[in-house]
Amino acid sequence: MWSTGKGKGNEMDVDTVIQEERVKRFSPARSVEHLAHVATFVVLVCTGLSQRFYSLDISQWIILHLGGIDNVRLIHRFAGVICSLQIITHLAVAAIGIVYGKWQPSMVITKKDFTDVVHNIRYYLGMEKSPTRGGRYTYKQKFEYWGILTGVLLMMLTGFILWFPSVVTKYLPGEIIPAAKVLHTNEALVVFLIIAIWHVYNAIFSPEVFPMDTSIFTGYISKARMFREHPDELAEMEEKPLKDIPASP
């Protein structure tokens, strides 16, 4: 719980009010974008990891039920093109948004994010009194975002190399092809693991949000969670001095 004054009646009421109060966090466009990424991610994981772990029974089941290996590769490439377009659109929208001043570059990693990592780990270990104060995005979200983004960009590049090996080897040495394959499959595993371990934990299993963080779907987040996770952003929204919104576990 975010409340620092446990057991005091009047503060419990405030707690309940804030629990019910909601804050707008994402526009519908962001919800749609997220859903589209989920769809391409699922397709790419099913058709991609089944090729990487081709000897597993489940992989063979998937490949045979999707119409054979040629079909699976076709679907994977098609989904890869869709995913690339999504990423390019995402980056273009973000760039335009920032350039025209409509968006804050809130995903950019700053020095504070690195100190936050150390600070929060110290807090978990009981060496700090309070956790870090998150802004629009916490360091956890930023590192996840950039980890996945660089991963997808690398896979776009290597995926293209693997799709057109004869074109690529006209300009580059042949060893690029097996190197691209190794990089593509391993980077895919990295992104899959970040999503499967980190994202799924933080969006579903974390005790802070369990049974599920619905903010990306509904566009709204509870004020209580804003207090806990994004106090700096809340302070900015409500134009209050930072000290009025205490960092809380």
Partner: protein, 319 residues
């Protein structure tokens, strides 16, 4: 035996004739030396000797071959699936039957001298025999009497000989080669690596082939016939990949690649690591990319899991 020890002749309607004289010593040296004549020539004995009519000498051979099935029924049924039997049933009477390969009275144990197997096939497949004789395998067999190398029947089988031009035959080529090339006891003494099979099977072509073979029925429609061992190494003309022939193998490789990868440039074959596992010497780039991820992925997973555990622990403590 009394009569057939002397000169007797069988005459056919076509005017051909066949000597009925039996070479007793070769009969006694044969694997069938315990059998009596009527075991094969049933219906005949010293009392009974019915007259039989055959239009040609070949007809007699074909009919006599039917006698083998009384004992060798398993082999007989196998031959019924063979391309030779198909040709025979389509009217090509020259297609071989048991006697043509095994002989009649002087049948010996066939596996004793492997060069003889190739020589049997040579009678009809002389052109292929000549190519095989010059290959790394044929050369070792005929010039060094090497008994490890494959002869015709090792790939084509002895009895159920299948049409080798079919897709299903092509898809089983890696199995045939791996019979020896994945067996260290056989190829190890020639300094050959058994990794050749694994490196093929785990790469693009090998994995695709694996699924083509799993895909039955409606799914059995490969986009292209997948490259197998023989596509790069040759079929009957397989040459050594080391020594003076090595350059020929490499020069032919790009041509073979271009059959499927039409636009493939000259250095395209370099994208195949030639059965080598990536190492500092061979494909250092692939080796390093692999190494980086081998280190990075466990660290990433451990880091994330550790943070999650610390987070849960802190949450529990705070409650």
């Amino acid at each position: 035996m009394k009569c057939h020890g002397y000169t007797v002749k069988m005459a056919f309607r076509s005017g051909e004739s066949l000597s009925g004289t039996i070479n007793i010593s070769s009969l006694q040296a044969s694997v069938h030396n315990k059998l009596s004549c009527s075991d094969c020539h049933y219906g005949f004995s010293s009392e009974e000797h019915p007259k039989r009519h055959f239009a040609t000498r070949r007809d007699y051979t074909l009919a006599s071959s039917e006698n083998c099935r009384r004992c060798h029924f398993d082999k007989y049924t196998k031959t019924m699936e063979s391309i030779h039997h198909t040709m025979l049933s389509q009217g090509n009477l020259e297609a071989p039957v048991c006697i043509d390969c095994h002989g009649s009275h002087g049948i010996s144990h066939i596996s004793k001298e492997r060069a003889l197997i190739a020589k049997r096939c040579q009678r009809c497949h002389a052109g292929i025999y000549d190519i095989y004789a010059k290959s790394v395998h044929g050369n070792a067999l005929f010039n060094e009497n090497n008994q490890d190398v494959p002869v015709c029947a090792d790939c084509h089988t002895a009895h159920a000989i299948e049409d080798p031009r079919t897709l299903s035959y092509r898809e089983r080529v890696p199995d045939m080669c791996s019979n020896c090339h994945a067996n260290k006891a056989i190829v190890g003494k020639y300094g050959l690596s058994t990794a050749v099979v694994d490196t093929y099977l785990s790469d693009f072509h090998g994995v695709t082939l694996k699924f083509y073979r799993l895909q039955k029925g409606a799914l059995n429609k490969p986009a292209k016939p997948m490259a197998v061992c023989t596509d790069c190494h040759g079929i009957h003309n397989i040459s050594s990949t080391v020594g003076p022939d090595a350059t020929v193998v490499k020069a032919n490789l790009v041509k073979r690649c271009q059959k499927c990868h039409a636009e493939a440039p000259k250095n395209f074959p370099d994208s195949w690591l030639s059965h080598y596992k990536p190492s500092l010497k061979r494909a250092p780039l692939v080796f390093f990319v692999n190494l980086i991820y081998k280190i990075f992925i466990p660290i990433l997973v451990a880091g994330l899991v550790l943070q999650i555990m610390l987070h849960v622990w802190r949450y529990v403590v705070n409650r």
